[in-house]
Amino acid sequence: MILTKTGKDLQLVKIAFREFYFNHGNKIEEPSKMQNREFGLMGFDGVMKRHLKFSNLGGLVASLILENPSDVFTSNAQYDFPALPMSEKGWRGADLIFDIDLKDLGLKCMQSHSYRTCLSCSSSYVSGSPESCPKCGANSFAESMLPCDRCINGLKSEVLKLHRFLTTDIGISPEMISTYFSGNNGFHVHVLDESFNDLSSHARADLAAYIMGVGILADVIGATKDSRNDFRVRFPIGGLDHGWRKRISDRLGISITSQKRLTNLVNEQGGLEQFRRRVVEITREMGVRIDAQVTTDVHRVFRLPGTLNGKSGLTKTLCPDLSSFDPFNESCQLSNREVTVRLTLPKLKLRLKGERFNLTEEFARVPMFIGVYLISKGLAHTVHFDP
């Protein structure tokens, strides 16, 4: 269930967001061919206004200060008439974008910093708690997560894996790839090479499947069905030097010089069917955990780089150097002025804007960026702030 902010919480977050767009509107990245893109502004009530058009960044920033949305999106597609209904827009092509989300990585640490907040009494608990709220008995919750350093490192290594597929296999030059922290629990990888823009949704699905390692047959490394003997080994023309053929053969320790090794491996697995299943397991494991639906959608709107994420108060930020990028520092751009909040958890440790916070009291005086972060996650409520 989505957490909707009300009362003082809503007031505080709105002030913080408007202040940000007033002071840092110039940090928003102007999308290429801006006049051909559709924009969407999500209100704090969860309602999205789509089919908007802005011809320049100034007009957009003015609108953000005025309308004060919780989230700002722009289409990956370019249209002849972006403000018209979808069927009349005139699709010209769409940027190729990949999304890597923390929830898809299945990291072990996630459970320990995932929370449920009771929508009735606002108490929060670490996930895995009983079905109903121990305090009031209600059973409607909002889910949230505070990613830790391990989560970010896990995401980064998945992004690097994606970079390797895109550069080595798909042939995209590294300077044609831009990586962004999404502002919450993931990274977006934008391909700037326009030769991918006219790919249909089906073609993108095929590309996504390649990157995820889905649908790979054992035949690609030479183990094929044989009507007489269950299987036979015949290495493919082109060998095992590149792409998935290389990944699988390296993993299994086979080379084109030894047919026997592959024959033995298939037999050890108990035949071709079992070996095929093993190949499926290996490739799924070695593939990149991207959200395929995001990549295949050619009419989607994506968070605009440089704008705030309504689920955290952090910005979607370009990462020129992924290894040194620290989202808890570089994406935290709300003000430092102090606010008083009431925690919905007994205690909480976190790090933002280069500072460590160890919150052990129910009421805490914290900087605005911490207040908004916790309120957005449903882990605190506003008590007092100076408007």
């Binding site: 790919l199 249909s200 095929d206 499947a209 047959l217 690609v220 023309i237 082109g238 998935w244």
Partner: protein, 349 residues
């Protein structure tokens, strides 16, 4: 380097702009087709279409370029005069298959950079806007850009055409000559289809009309509808039937699904074979053999089952609706429909 196609190449690829240019240079007039000395060309074109109607197969005979270019031209005029959407698609597919055979042969020509190959690469580039290069790394393979491959390969449902099962490196997909030309088959067919649809001859010569009328009389009648109401079919089967009715070239996997489903629901071989009459490559003998094979009456005598929903999904043949919820095989669809309608009736009562 600037390569010009020779007349021998025009004979194999008479749909190229150079062939049209050649005709312009000969001052050919549409009514010249009525001349007695061109009678054999009209008959040749007519026989070619007759063979396409009866056997669903192209004619691979290759004469000198004047004959081939004229046969092609007369052929599309006859097709235009018959004005049957299904036959037009069938003819375009046969012309594409014919070109495919010659292209593959030329691509396999000896020598990495033979003029022959370079000419073919020029054809790919100019006609289909697709770069094809001989691989410097693998002697027998050709390279196409990943994007060019993806734009075409998604039309294939077989797993081996998925990018995941291809040799991919540095933005290129490596293919053998047969695979390379197979990749563009439907595109060539569509290009021809587009050209025929856009053709606007001032009039149709009498000899063309005469042949068109003869061929019209042997066109198969549309297959009779099967007993079940269309809504009783699962969406995957309905989709395949619609495609077939529109004269589309269904992939092998879709044909297997259609035939096994019809067998499972009790249709006889005759009814099922007639379903495929609209296929551009329809050959009654081949279709009958395949349906009988699936029914377990030939070969290994194993009756084939309807592919599961998961398999159909993987092959891009699933068009599930809310009524498919919980099904694992399309044969369960009828039961699910009956269950839902009983539930609705109870609700109304």
């Amino acid at each position: 380097m600037n390569f010009r196609l020779g007349t021998a190449d025009l004979a194999k690829y008479p749909f190229l702009n150079e062939a049209a240019e050649y005709m312009r240079q000969t001052y050919f007039n549409l009514d010249d087709i009525n001349l007695p000395e061109l009678r054999h060309i009209v008959e040749r074109a007519s026989n070619r279409i007759r063979s396409e109607i009866v056997h669903g197969k192209p004619d691979y005979a290759l004469e000198r370029h004047e004959v081939e270019i004229l046969t092609f031209l007369v052929g599309i005029l006859i097709i235009r005069a018959i004005n049957s959407d299904n036959l037009t698609k069938k003819h375009c597919l046969c012309e594409a298959l014919r070109a495919e055979k010659f292209l593959a042969r030329d691509l396999k020509a000896h020598g990495e950079f033979s003029n022959k190959k370079l000419l073919i690469f020029k054809v790919f580039k100019e006609l289909l806007k697709m770069d094809v290069h001989p691989s410097l790394k693998y002697q027998l393979l050709l390279e196409v850009k990943v994007t060019d491959y993806l734009k075409r390969s998604h039309l294939f449902h077989e797993q081996e055409w998925k990018l995941s099962n291809r040799l991919v490196h540095d933005g290129r997909v490596f293919l053998d000559p047969d695979e390379t030309v197979r990749l563009i088959r439907s595109e060539v067919a569509n290009l021809l289809l587009e050209r025929i649809r856009q053709m606007n001859p001032s009039h149709i010569p009498a000899t063309i009309m005469e042949q068109a009328n003869i061929l019209k009389s042997i066109l198969p009648v549309a297959p009779a509808k099967l007993g079940n109401a269309p809504s009783a079919y699962p969406p995957c089967v309905s989709h395949a039937l619609d495609q077939m009715a529109a004269g589309e070239n269904l992939p092998h996997s879709a044909r297997v699904m259609l035939a096994t489903y019809m067998l499972a629901t009790g249709k006889n071989i005759e009814e099922i074979v007639s379903l495929f009459k609209n296929a551009p490559d329809y050959d009654e003998r081949v279709s009958r053999y395949q349906v009988e094979h699936l029914a377990g009456e030939r070969g290994s005598h194993v009756r084939y089952l309807v592919p599961s929903c998961t398999k159909l999904l993987n092959e891009g043949l699933c068009f599930a609706t809310s009524q498919c919820e919980g099904l694992i095989n399309p044969v369960q669809f009828g039961r699910a429909i009956r269950f839902h309608s009983r539930k609705a009736n109870v609700g109304q009562g």
